[in-house]
């Protein structure tokens, strides 16, 4: 019995260390991305998403357990040496300038993916992220509300030198998820599927053969500047890159039977 209690303690600390997940119900929504092959609403299956972005403290715990992801030990193909976790004082020390409860930034897509995988999770897809980030505390889709749009755009007006706040300071949206807007940029699993910027960059390029299949994505909703800025930013990145305000959170698919929530 004592062993059982010990075990359950271990399990609960483990899930605490990794960040809590919240169930996001299935639904349909209109992405700002105009998919040539799928013009209507995007169907989203129910999934679990981390309530908050992964913090410095959580990522430190991860690199302790997985030394191959420590700064200086990670092969340069998986993380740029000059940027990866460069704001930490040392590979295993956050230092005075970095707070444990701030979201971790300066992480490559490979490192973010590895963190999630170690949790039995994955990065959210772009559609999942956009779907969840469209919600405010009362509505699942607040995007048509000018006041809501304004509040999100406010973040972009802040100078880049403003220190990043701790996670969990913003009100939870209707699903109970925080910090999707107004804190950091976040990696998505399929960020590289956003061919949109590659297409824009090559508008004058007659060599269309660069893309196999249908033409690349374009933007649907010209009013959603905030989301479009995210798309532009993500699609300009390579998986090895990291920046001082780019972090991530993880998501989990549900077993098939649970995907259609009521």
């Amino acid at each position: 019995m004592r062993r059982l209690i010990l075990l359950s303690c271990l399990i609960s600390t483990a899930s605490l260390a990794g960040g809590a997940y919240v169930r996001v119900p299935a639904g349909e929504f209109q992405s700002v991305l105009k998919y040539e092959d799928n013009k209507g609403k995007q169907k989203i299956a129910a999934f679990d998403m981390m309530k908050q972005p992964v913090t410095n403290a959580q990522f430190l715990e991860f690199v302790r357990k997985h030394p191959q992801w420590q700064r200086g030990k990670t092969p340069v193909v998986f993380a740029e040496q000059t940027h990866y976790l460069s704001h930490w004082q040392a590979p295993l020390v956050l230092g005075a300038k970095v707070k444990p409860q701030q979201p971790v930034t300066q992480v490559s897509w490979f490192a973010a993916s590895a963190y999630c995988e170690a949790q039995g999770a994955r990065l959210p897809t772009w559609n999942e992220w956009e779907y969840t980030a469209a919600a405010d505390p009362k509505r699942r889709d607040a995007r048509s509300d000018p006041a809501w749009r304004e509040s999100i755009l406010g973040w972009y007006a802040k100078p880049a030198s403003t220190p990043i706040a701790d996670v969990g300071k913003s009100p939870a949206n209707i699903y109970g998820i925080q910090d999707l807007n107004g804190l950091i940029w976040e990696w998505t699993e399929d960020y590289s599927a956003m061919l949109v910027s590659a297409d824009n960059r090559n508008q004058s390029d007659p060599d269309k053969s660069k893309f196999c299949g249908a033409s690349a994505l374009s933007m649907e909703d010209k009013e959603s500047y905030a989301v479009m800025m995210r798309v532009a930013m993500l699609s300009s990145l390579e998986a090895v890159n990291s920046t001082s305000n780019l972090g991530f959170r993880c998501a989990k698919s549900l077993p098939r039977a649970q995907k259609r929530s009521p």
Binding site: N38, W109, L195, F211, C212, A214, S215
Partner: protein, 192 residues
């Protein structure tokens, strides 16, 4: 005493090394470090690290693709045809499918036969979804699954040196090789 201990430890380390010779680790910028399992057209599993030691061309494709993907194979053949027999022997070619659902070893073998590819030098392979995503990220290949199961992807032929480092890439496809890329292939083969 300390010295003796040290010497002892040192000799143990030497013996340990002699017993199990370990190859030098791959350089940090080697793409071959990807840990995912791949499967070739014969159904044999392998890791990319096993392909160390020989320069290679790598591209991502899928067998049911009608337009660009045949061009990717043409491009590989175009390079082959521009090389001397000696140069050819030193180069291998790896195509990796971005369509794990449909591209079984049988589907890959169908293309091998249809395009009469020499499997002593050409390998057509598949991996799981995660492997596809990771390799695509390493090679800077962008792709997206379309609603009808087709793919939208950037097409590139990438040259890796014997250690798996990216030396050159071209997005000019077709049977007539990109001259700058071909020169890079020649130079890399000569270096080995």
């Amino acid at each position: 005493m300390k010295k003796i201990l040290f010497a002892l430890l040192f000799s143990f380390a030497l013996i340990g090394n002699a017993a199990s010779p370990k190859p030098a680790p791959l350089p940090g910028d080697s793409v071959l470090q990807i840990d995912n399992v791949f499967t070739n057209q014969d159904g044999r599993n392998f890791k990319l690290a096993e392909r160390r030691g020989k320069p290679q061309l790598v591209a991502m494709f899928y067998t049911s693709c009608k337009y660009i993907c045949p061009l990717i194979i043409d491009s590989g053949k175009g390079i082959d045809n521009s090389l001397t027999p000696d140069e050819r022997k030193k180069l291998s070619i790896l195509l990796v499918s971005i369509d794990p659902v449909r591209d079984t070893p049988e589907a890959l073998m169908y293309i091998v036969n249809k395009r009469k590819l020499d499997t002593t030098r050409w390998t057509l392979s598949r991996t799981d979804e995660k492997g596809v995503r990771t390799l695509a990220a390493l090679l800077g290949v962008r792709y997206r699954v379309l609603a009808d199961g087709e793919f939208n992807h950037t097409s590139a032929l990438i040259l890796l040196d014997a250690e798996g480092r990216v030396v050159a890439r071209t997005e000019t496809l077709g049977s007539k090789p990109d001259p700058v890329f071909l020169a890079a292939v020649r130079k890399t083969l000569a270096a080995k």
